[in-house]
Symmetry: D2
Subunit: 341 residues, 4 copies
């Protein structure tokens, strides 16, 4: 059986595992106060070109989003996000549980537009009753988005500019950032993202680590006392060095990007094969998530050989499906799947 359900079905990249084993009996202080974590921080600051940034390592995406957003917002504020945003749909109300409203913007294949951000904030303050409403206090975007799409550099420049002008922080959820950086036609480097976002995180869980997300805070004054907030959110790993060692490995010799490319190569091959067979591309994603429209009987047939996700409800005749590759997807797996089409 082949598996294309998601990008967290395996453990970690073998090199990451090797380092975890190698360092296993070292003795270090906890909570990220160890040399590996300090080294990982430095490697990330260098890769991002932001020597003054703060870098924190958390375990998973939902806890990272909840902690960062809770730290950025004041009590009367909410977070702007696309309707399809992970924080709005698939985090079990973690943002609201910390007291904040998600303020919904229209999403275009998962992306928000600078003009919609501007319109929301401007109309908000034009409404005389605004002090009775939740103030837009920050913008959340994800890159790649839930639909595998990417912001162009121009689009992120615009979002940056509008957030600057409106004086709200811009936070980028990079759960799958590696797959965005490695994508064909991508125009946004890690340095661009670090230059244009106030806070963002580099996803490890889906890109080669056992778990872990590296939060980069380019404007540390926005998140004072973040360590305590991480603890309060239950997001502080006792053996913090496990995060440090993983990111140290991923950011040595460009491993993070190198392994991400494998997911892109296999995803591209997959897309071309589906297209060649005459199937419709549902969303034109350059990243490791691929969305196709398949006849239901083809879905049923393929399900004998592979697992993948039905995207939305099953249609009468045909349905949308999602295939996800990852750093762990092999060429053999892809070839075998293609042979089954």
């Amino acid at each position: 059986m082949l598996h294309f359900d998601c990008d967290y079905m395996e453990g970690a990249h073998p090199e990451v595992m090797r380092r975890l084993v190698e360092t296993n009996l070292e003795q270090t202080p906890g909570y990220g106060c160890d040399p590996h974590t300090e080294h990982a921080r430095e490697l990330i600051r260098q890769a991002c070109g932001v020597p003054q940034a703060e870098v924190h390592f958390l375990v998973g995406g939902t806890q990272t989003n909840a902690t960062v957003i809770d730290g950025l917002l004041r009590r009367h504020e909410g977070v702007l996000a696309a309707d399809s945003g992970h924080i709005n749909v698939h985090e079990a109300g973690a943002i609201e549980a910390a007291g904040h409203k998600v303020l919904v913007l229209p999403g275009y294949d998962g992306k928000v537009r600078a003009c919609d951000v501007a319109r929301y904030v401007e109309e908000f303050y034009r409404d005389e009753t605004w002090p009775h409403m939740v103030a837009p206090g920050m913008l959340y975007i994800s890159h790649p988005t839930e639909f595998g799409t990417l912001y162009t550099r121009e689009e992120l420049e615009e979002l940056h500019a509008v957030c600057q002008r409106l004086a709200i922080p811009l936070y980028l959820d990079g759960a799958r950032l590696g797959y965005g950086l490695a994508a064909d036609g991508n125009t946004l480097s890690l340095r661009d993202i670090a230059r244009l976002c106030d806070i963002f995180y580099i996803g490890g869980t889906k890109v080669g680590a056992l778990f872990g997300e590296a939060v980069v805070i380019t404007r540390p004054e926005l998140l004072p006392h973040f360590f305590t907030l991480v603890k309060q959110h239950g997001a502080l790993l006792a053996k913090g060095r496990l995060l440090g060692i993983q990111f140290e490995t991923l950011f040595t010799d460009d491993l993070y990007l190198r392994i991400a490319r494998q997911a892109i190569t296999t995803a591209r091959k997959l897309k071309e094969a589906f297209r060649a067979k005459g199937y419709r591309i549902h969303i034109d994603s350059p990243t490791n998530q691929q969305f196709f429209v398949l006849p239901n009987r083809e879905i049923d047939r393929l399900s004998q050989y592979a697992t993948f996700e039905l995207w939305g409800p099953r249609g009468e005749e045909e349905s949308v499906v999602r295939f996800v590759t990852s750093w762990a997807t092999t060429d053999e797996q892809i070839d075998e799947l293609i042979a089954r089409l």
Copy 2:
């Protein structure tokens, strides 16, 4: 340099690491819906003698406490705990952040007494103004406690009985449970704990795992929708099987208890050595945390060779220090430390 600061300075027990490496490229669904996690659940249910219990795996102690307590309490209720309880002191207000008050009971070397629980609840409802106050909605204890002490079976029977009578759940924080089970003179088996507590967790982070706590819910009706609550608290690990594999390993061939014994053996040796040198035992702990009163100049001298924790403020002449052993502490390390006394 020798290290006795805490019991989470190394990675995982080598057998745990071996299994993580061995299973690394297996493909499984996320979020704990995999065969390893299911197997681990079953092993734990067997070890505890509670075939109907629910078992969930979370990453760390603070998040486990916050999630369980949030799930058990209704909005008007608070949690009873010893003044020294971890939730009252060292979790950065995670309980309050979820909306609940910690109601403080006197602690006796970290333990609460059944009579104090009864008195609190009875005096509470005797006060006519009780509807204006936070109702005691559950009892939190830790075993071993923050001071390395243990409840006897009789004491836990009493706490169980009083909680039953008062109709409040009893929750046991077992961050260091292995070291309690393996301690000299311990009278409480895992089966006793499972029989007497409504919810408890078996700590992995400090006892052989990289991270991870196994929550055993012997009365599942008390915590409906716990999965969603775990997600909401940011405590759901994407690659949930990492927790499953670790606990599967720890609960195979009695590994959990076997490795805990090493911490007890070395702690006992340490205590005897300090006692033989004429130093005062501050708290008589049978577990892996040892508390001694040392002259400040001895503390300074020892600090050249070993790291350990000052427990409370430094005194004028002498101070209390804590030495912690773990599954990873070797006989050589202890001998070397003793040679330095």
Copy 3:
């Protein structure tokens, strides 16, 4: 200057004031434990035909919604409401501040449809990822709605039936309930509402009281410990009898309905006058809120004589305006306004 901005521009109905003055130096216990409040509870239970219902009095609408919803929901649940619902727009995030997400349904002139409730809940549980999402835990509606529209008896029967079937409580926000009961063509009596809703509140603030909302809980088992929750939400009035006396007065000799009718009569007259002048009715409301489309220059001209609200943004040529009448609106005021058209 004439004022049609809202229905809370004056104090209380003179009869309410008379009773407050008359009872002013009586001595009674606080927090609603006084004979006036008990009497008011009884009068409301009788008027609603629900002898077993619990009745609580709170001060204002936002605090009532926040307290009731917080009491009804478990932590993993959210509240279904129309996009235009007061809790979703104009309560400054009070629902989210208590930890709950507002789950948005399409609104049709402020009303939700039973079929949309059913579809939301059914699609929710059909989605395999539902345990990662906020569960729909109750339905919030307002009657009259934000747009002055009313549910028919048939529609409320349907909402009741769907909520029963889905096992979620139905809560009705009756901030302007009097004006709904007194409206032309209204088909829903107080008894119908009490029969069909699990919880609702009878608005006093906008219908003759200085302040105050009467929460009727027809299924008290859904809201145990409500008194403490009211206190925790800061919604418990020390001199609770002030609420009791006001509702006692409003529910004696049918005062509540009688004074509501005056708002309806004047609103109807207003609507007919605008229609006769050829202006478009924006929403056909049978209650005390009236929405018209006026040319901007007519808006500017009228603003010299009267205050009223611009509803939404000002258009290029014409805009929507809202005129609100109340129990305090006199026939003279209406005639004077009409004369100015």
Copy 4:
């Protein structure tokens, strides 16, 4: 039957009622944007000698405390308060419900000492694990305290100085402030309080108003967006002018202080009578709350003629009781009670 249970058993001072009736049919905008409220703000600023202060009016004490404290603290901070503080005991966990821990200081007849505040904060930051704990973010005191005692000017100067030095705001709960200002031997004027506190509130509910508390923010930069926070806490009164009119009346011709004196005069008379009869004074309060130790049989006998509160549990032979006077207590009532002793 005579009543000395508490100071909120009647309605409002007749002059306040007269003004409410007189202004009843005036039409004003809601939410405190009316001329009466603006006037009241100005009168209070003048009385306090703080022309730049912000003044907000809320309905009750618990909601005021919860809103102010929630606005002052960041997420990682808690509020320091005496163990007996109202927020720690009798507000049903409202502070925790908003996510904040109450950090307990020893109380001396309800008062906290500057040296204890300093010690708490200094020891906190001396503990290396402080980032894992709730940071002391502000100080809450009440004046008069729960026990009717008063801070001297010197003591408040010291608290002010220590808070300044530690850079934490000082907030004074003045639920019974009038009775403190009017007390025999009081050394703290309203101007002193305004000079020494960052935020405080002047209690109306217990001192002549139907309800209402005036929050004076002498350092408005500490509480930006307070209006929205008030709304979010459900504490915004629609007909805000009701609060304005009441405080306008209370702060005209010194009414607030004048009526408070009546409570002091009657309380003093009461105390002298009890003392003359040989009963022990439990706490020597100069304000309107008086605490005596009475033989249980005297308590039972007196209970035939008067209501008052048992303070703490009933003793074997004798118990502590509390008698409370107010602006509404008449000399006749006191004489009648004394005659019954």
